[in-house]
């Protein structure tokens, strides 16, 4: 045990980004400070890109988009902690799209379980890579990175502003000065509000030597903070993209070719054009838009447009798509990012098992269907929508409207769910095209649920061929060959116009980078060239690899005659003590004994994703109506828990998102079209079918990890393993509703 790892994810990320952006150029550019994009109105002052102070108080810019993960509150707390402002006085805005808000963590990547052993070379690469998103302008909310990226820079923004305000106060107060509740206070107790000092502070060169407060002095961080969006979201007053309302605005919808990527041969809108409230039908090339006086009237008219579509550029049926994916298993792999020992030999006396797993395409199905509002005025375009990548959106919408990116203004609103779907620019591109056809008229383009479900960038379908062997209660061989279309290659092609060459680490994440100590361990990734649009779905590759890896580990444990929880513990403890502690935690929380009474089943799974290990135990039970998921126990380790209540919410929500997909989620194709249309055929867990859940947040991980996605990957295998315990039937295919009778 304890062999040299060949896992080299960061080196590969470097090579792809080097092609994309040019590291040398990036280093040069990054030495210039990025321009503060805030242009406050008269009477207000900005001290840095994260802060506006006016007579009414302090506004913090939290430049990551709120899709439910609580990021705006978290980022605001980082600034507020150092700035010494009362939490209830803080206002929070998303702010403009700007390079200053680049996400460095997005490309440098998360800590791996073996991070303590990170080499000097890796450290160098990590620092050098930090400049790439800055120069590419990657203001992106995704990859469970926002808090890790902001942890230092937004606390520094608060601390330097505080020190500048103190310097501004020094002429008027006698020191030593301290700060509290938005005021600088002198030795004699007299106080001056920040609002009165801001203008003077803005003229002072910000001090460069501020020291961040140690965690022992934190007032906000590390505590359960009330979210700044909670009252608005409990009163119907939070404004989502779908709620934008502008003077003279029209209501539109789109019908795009359901053969995804295909064009339009012809259409007949003569009936639709005569329908109530309809103003116009617009040719979008690959579909049409109907502009009307009311969204529902637009929906009805869009249904009445008779359209002759071109065919899909991919196999027309689910079986055809799986055959195309399966074929790549006979070809050379794209990557072998884990390759230890020799998995081709089965040690003498070992028991060999093999299995094939399959998972379907999945839709994001955000609660708020896709939408964007746009106003084109000849030389400018404004777009209002919830989105995870405003600069990419501006760039793509500009192309669609025949403008340059600096002529486009993106307003980022609350998202009614994102899950990766709102990282895509398609919604803004369509809105830009509609707006360009309607100059000087703001148009809200609202998709129907059916249009949303049938025009997603899906979580790819995937196939895994697994082989393993156990001997003396221990796994001695683990060999995985994983085939799927590549999210990385497709999404990078959409954003940059070409796909990065070389191995795709995201394709095997969740399988190649798990902290199991197995002597002969190989994970190969095979990329299928299939043109069904695929994209980032909560936890991305981990969403299928977690299921493959942790289901097969369960099979190995049973083949070894071992308790599945103890088996995991024994193989993980030598490599990642924090992860092993999570298994001990869920064992204690659930009262795991390895034995379950008749009619009850329990399963366990543990995954490491986005820098955060998560263990889950799921309990299922027979009932008169079918099988129920009754209970769940989650233990996670984020290193430093900055807002424990919000972390618990994300862990539980991430798990429910995964359980929903595992039970019900399946996107299938017939005649080149997606067959599912709406929630009745793409359902999710509901109040009566969701488990009672307990979450524990530990802090043994030496690095801070993400929280938005890591709850999803272990949920699917934990449920399948619980169903095996209950029924003796091993689920190697999802969704589970095809194999088991669940209570509704």
């Amino acid at each position: 045990m304890g062999r040299i790892k060949k896992y080299t994810r960061r080196a590969f990320i470097v090579s792809s980004a080097a092609v994309a952006g040019g590291v040398a150029f990036g280093v040069y550019m990054s030495k210039k400070p990025l321009e503060n994009p805030l242009k406050p109105e008269a009477g207000a002052v900005t001290l840095n890109p994260y802060l506006i102070i006016d007579q009414e108080g302090v506004t913090i810019i939290a430049p990551r988009a709120e899709m439910g993960q609580g990021v705006q509150s978290m980022l605001a707390a980082l600034v507020a902690e150092e700035l010494d402002v009362a939490w209830e006085d803080v206002r929070v805005l998303h702010g403009p799209a700007a390079q200053a808000y680049y996400n460095g963590e997005l490309i440098t990547g998360h800590a791996e379980y073996e991070d303590g052993k990170r080499s000097a070379w890796q450290e160098f690469v990590r620092d050098a890579m930090d400049v790439v998103p800055k120069t590419l302008g990657l203001q992106v909310t995704g990859g469970s990175t926002a808090t890790i990226d902001a942890f230092e820079k937004m606390r520094l923004a608060g601390a330097t502003a505080r020190e500048a305000l103190k310097l501004a106060a020094a002429e008027r107060l006698t020191g030593p000065l301290r700060t509290e509740n938005g005021q600088v206070i002198g030795a004699d107790g007299s106080a001056i509000a920040y609002a009165e000092l801001a203008e003077a502070a803005a003229k002072i060169a910000p001090p460069e030597d501020v020291i961040l407060r140690p965690s022992s002095e934190w007032k906000y961080l590390g505590r359960d903070m009330p979210r700044v969006d909670m009252v608005a979201k409990s009163t119907g007053t939070a404004q989502y993209g779908a709620d934008v309302r502008l003077e003279g605005m029209k209501f539109a919808t789109v019908r795009i070719n359901p053969h995804l990527g295909g064009g339009m041969k012809s259409y007949d809108a003569s009936t639709a054009e005569k329908m109530a409230g309809v103003e116009r039908v617009i040719d979008l090339g690959n579909g049409i838009a109907v502009v009307a006086s009311n969204t529902w009237l637009a929906f009805q008219a869009a249904d009445a447009v008779d359209i002759d579509w071109e065919d899909a550029p991919y196999p027309a049926t689910t079986d055809g798509l799986f055959a195309a994916i399966e074929k790549t298993l006979d070809e050379a792999p794209n990557s072998t990012l884990r390759d230890e020992g020799d998995t081709s030999l089965i040690p003498e006396g070992a028991t060999e098992i093999s299995a094939e797993y399959r998972v379907p395409y999945l839709a994001h199905a955000t609660m708020e269907p896709m939408n964007a509002t746009a106003l084109f005025t000849g030389d400018a375009l404004e777009i209002w929508c919830g989105n995870q990548a405003p600069l990419v959106l501006a760039d793509k919408a500009a192309d669609a409207a025949g403008l340059s990116a600096d002529q486009v203004t993106v307003h980022t609103l609350f998202m009614g769910g994102g899950f990766g779907r709102r990282a895509e620019a398609d919604v803004a591109i369509l809105a830009a095209k509609v707006a360009k056809a309607m100059p000087d008229v703001p148009v809200k383009v609202m998709w129907s649920r059916e249009e949303d479900m049938r025009h997603d960038f899906y979580r790819p379908a995937a196939i895994a061929r697994m082989k393993g062997a156990v001997k003396d209660g221990e796994a001695v061989v683990f060999d995985a060959r994983i085939a799927a279309p590549s999210v990385t290659k497709q999404s990078m092609s959409r954003i940059m116009g070409f796909a990065p060459p070389g191995p795709d680490p995201a394709h095997v994440e969740g399988a190649a980078n798990q902290p199991y100590d197995i002597a002969n361990y190989r994970v190969a990734g095979h990329l299928a060239d299939v043109d069904v649009p695929v994209g980032f779905w909560r936890s991305v590759g981990n969403s299928f690899n977690g299921f493959f890896h942790e289901s097969f580990i369960d099979e190995l444990a049973h083949a070894a005659g071992a308790d599945p929880l103890q088996f995991r513990f024994d193989h993980i403890a030598p490599l990642s003590p924090p992860t092993a502690k999570l298994l001990a935690a869920v064992r204690d929380m659930s009262g795991w004994t390895g034995k379950t009474p008749d009619g009850i089943g329990r399963g366990v799974a543990v995954t490491w994703s986005f820098g955060t290990p998560v263990a889950q135990v799921i309990e299922v039970a027979n009932s008169d109506d079918g099988i129920r998921i009754t209970k769940a126990w989650i233990a996670c380790d984020v290193g430093t828990a900055l807002d424990p209540r919000n972390i618990r919410a994300q862990m539980e929500g991430g798990m429910i998102y995964g359980l929903s997909a595992a039970m019900h989620g399946e996107i299938t194709f017939a005649n080149g079209e997606v067959e599912q249309e709406n929630f009745p055929d793409y359902d999710a867990l509901r109040m009566g079918t969701a488990p009672v859940t307990e979450v524990q947040v530990l802090e043994n991980n030496p690095h801070m990890g993400g929280v938005g996605e890591p709850g999803t990957p272990p949920s699917m295998p934990a449920l399948a393993n619980a169903l095996f315990d209950l029924t003796g039937k091993r689920a190697r295919e999802l969704p589970l509703s095809k194999l088991f009778d669940f209570a509704g």
Partner: protein, 154 residues
């Protein structure tokens, strides 16, 4: 043809075809955007409003069939004057993306109006038509219980 509807105690004359669903009257015509569009087929509950005190899916009620007084999320409380359920929602920090929560609160309000001490099974029964893709069910349940306890004067 013009229809007359009473929403949150106020009368509105609406000039739209009679088959336009109440949801799209509220959102596009009256600018009451707290009521959300999620599915249009009565499968998610995001558009739940009250019609004479009953919870209805506003995507399924045609304008011409609106009978009695309509109450939307805007009509039960405001940020400065929260209703008992809204207070409980804030206390339990229920919302994540928040898009479904107007409908959840409107559904829960009807449950509690009829039964101020609901069991878990009764909560499941009343709330299972309301989808939440963020998975906030545990906190919704806890908030309903807190609001119920408040209503009982405990």
């Amino acid at each position: 043809m013009a229809y007359s509807v009473i929403v949150n105690g106020q009368r509105f004359d609406v000039d739209l075809p009679g088959d336009v669903p109440l949801l799209w009257v509220l959102r596009d015509e009256l600018g009451l955007s707290g009521t959300k569009y999620g599915c249009g087929v009565s499968a998610c509950g995001a558009c739940t409003v009250h019609m004479d005190g009953e919870a209805v899916r506003s995507c399924q009620v045609a304008l011409e069939d609106v009978a009695g007084e309509v109450t939307t999320i805007e009509g039960i409380g405001t940020p400065d004057a929260l209703d008992v359920l809204q207070k409980a929602w804030v206390a339990h920090q229920v919302a994540q993306c928040g898009y479904c929560q107007s409908g959840q609160i409107m559904q829960a309000a009807v449950l509690l109006a009829a039964n101020n001490a609901p069991s878990d099974a009764e909560i499941d029964e009343a709330m299972s038509g309301n989808l939440c893709r963020c998975g906030t069910y545990g906190r919704i349940r806890a908030a309903i219980k807190t609001a119920a306890s408040e209503m009982r004067g405990e």
